[in-house]
Amino acid sequence: MQRVTVQHGPFDPGAILSAFTGLADGAGAVVSFSGITRDLAAHDLVAMEIEHYPGMTEAALEDIRSRAIARFDLIDALVLHRYGRLAPGDPIMMVATAARHRAAAFKGAEFLMDYLKSRAPFWKKEITATGAAWVAAKDDDEAALTRW
């Protein structure tokens, strides 16, 4: 099973969690995070367009994954992110971690999310009935990195 995936097409978080859990030999704890496309600023979202930087995206996700595994002694970790045009309600990305104990699995997943948000080259654009606007980065997201 691929541990870093950048794809346009849909995915099923449950199917990925099952496959990931089945391979996590010796794990006592598995944490997953799934992000769902929803209105961020606008309230009449028609679609979300996600641009990325092919090549750099995969390298950045591999780097984030390796750092999470080393830092929290994870048994395994997975990162998947979609790009292109997504509809509201579509799963947009997912991370999963497997560890011996629950604290490492939780911390590993939060670390992956914080770095992915601010260090992986993805940009979201909200398409509404009346126009389109790039989603602004949140100061909170940058600040979240300082805890690691």
Binding site: Y53, A59, M113, L116, S118, R119, P121, F122, W123
Partner: protein, 83 residues
Amino acid sequence: MKIEIRYFAWVRERVGAASETLETEAATIADLIAELSALSEGHRHAFSDPEAIRAALDQTLVDMDAPIAGAHEVAFFPPMTGG
């Protein structure tokens, strides 16, 4: 030297191109931004707020004072909003 410049998200939209090739003697990312800003109104608009610009050198995030000697590709884009 000849360098490939790539733009993403609103930087790309303001510049009006996804990429371009530049012959430059710029020493750092910041020098390169100064040079690019003078190219057109679109470039100037794209780089008007330096705080809002991130740069990657051969697909690795770098600071504004990073030297660009030997690089093949430099990319400019807004703060990332994945996840």
